[in-house]
Amino acid sequence: MVKNITIFTTTTCAYCPMVKKYLGAKGLKYDEVNLDENPQRQQEALAISGALTVPVTVITKQDDTKEVVVGYNLAKLAPAVA
């Protein structure tokens, strides 16, 4: 079970709305961190994902374990939020 979801995005990223749309269609709520508006959080996104890219989706489970999905990758995102 998912406890909460955070998505790191940028304003111009085309793949970010795809992740949001997918989660929305599943009825899942999420917090969004737009890195254009919050550039001070870029290092946090990098530390979590190991990649200089967005979207980065962080799924926290009920037991507080985290799964990180880099990019728009349904093969990883779907089971992570199931």
Binding site: T12, C13, A14, L35, P39, Q42, L52, V70, Y72
Partner: protein, 319 residues
């Protein structure tokens, strides 16, 4: 051979959801032709990840690629087009039906439109794969924000390279643009680029190959190239690569659909491939001009040709 009673059926399946595919879907769905699109990436394709589109007719001031893609998608969906997020893996000719192996299982279609477009090519130099997404990138609108107040190297000299160089100046302090031969971008883009060169934001290095991307401590530090037969180095925090396009036609290998020598799909004057009932439009078509406007036009043409094909061959689908 699939049992047609057991497999989901559609009049038309469109492989891809870029400008050619969405334009075709606008035409087919407006005529109540049941149409399903398969998209493995983002609807809008490369157009969606292009910063700004200045040459698509009807937008006097240009339009953001993401917005254009979103508008095309909304327009197609308004008439009933359905976009399935998944991938078509194989196409088989079973006569009246084409069977598509997809990530959602087998599906049947009376007609198929291949509109899978292209992705950006890699340069194939040491360091490129190693630093992928950690200093080497292919999508400026996705990853540019990580280079605020940093130096960048951009590789390429075509329209995409120049357009995305100008976009990335909003983040980077300086950009070295490495061009293997001469700049091939349109005159308009070259003139725009010159403004950034004059301002000192961009330095263009013509006749410069990119030989290696070098890093240390998990970060890119420089690009090594060759200019006039001499080794040159460009200190940088990241590299964006725009060196041309690679057709998304791998899934057609072994299908019997004829490809040309660079793996683009061959077609006749009706945009039909050598497999009857399978059409092609947009950047993936052999002879395409690789423009968003022409892709959209080809999509519309293909839809009309598909309608003619369906009228001549079929009865409506009954699921």
């Amino acid at each position: 051979m699939a049992d047609v009673n057991q497999v989901p059926k559609h009049e038309v399946i469109i492989v891809g959801a870029g400008p050619a595919a969405l334009s075709a879907a606008i035409y087919t769905t407006r005529e109540d032709i049941d149409t399903l699109l398969f998209e493995r990436g983002v609807p809008g394709g490369l157009a969606a990840i292009t910063d700004w589109v200045d040459n698509y007719p009807g937008f006097a001031e240009g339009i953001a690629g993401l917005e254009l893609a979103g508008n095309l998608q909304k327009q197609a969906e308004r008439f009933g087009a359905v976009i399935e997020l998944g991938e078509v893996l194989k196409i088989h000719d079973e006569g009246e039906w084409k069977r598509l192996e997809t990530t959602s299982g087998d599906m049947l279609a009376r007609a198929v439109l291949i509109a899978t477009g292209s992705d950006y090519k890699k340069i194939g130099v040491p360091g490129e794969q190693e630093y992928y997404a950690r200093g080497v990138h292919y999508c400026a609108t996705c990853d540019g924000a990580f280079y605020r107040d940093k130096r960048l190297v951009i590789v390429g000299g075509g329209n995409s390279a120049v357009q995305e160089t100008m976009f990335l100046t909003r983040f980077a302090t300086h950009i070295d643009l490495l061009v293997r031969s001469t700049i091939k971008a349109s005159d308009v883009l070259q003139k725009e680029l010159q403004k950034y060169v004059d301002d000192g934001k961009v330095t263009v290095h013509l006749g410069t190959t990119t030989d290696e991307i070098v890093g240390e401590n998990n970060s890119v530090t420089k690009v090594v190239g060759t200019q006039d037969g001499k080794k040159v180095e460009f200190p940088t925090d990241g590299v964006f690569v725009f060196v041309g396009l690679k057709p998304n036609s791998e899934f057609l290998e072994g299908s019997g659909i004829e490809l040309d020598h660079i793996h683009l799909v061959k077609s006749d004057e009706n945009l039909q491939t050598n497999m009857p009932g399978v059409f092609v439009a947009g950047d993936i078509r052999s002879g395409a001009t690789m423009q968003i406007a022409s892709a959209a036009g080809e999509g519309a043409t293909a839809a009309l040709k598909i309608r003619e094909y369906l009228e001549g061959h079929t009865h409506p689908v009954q699921n």
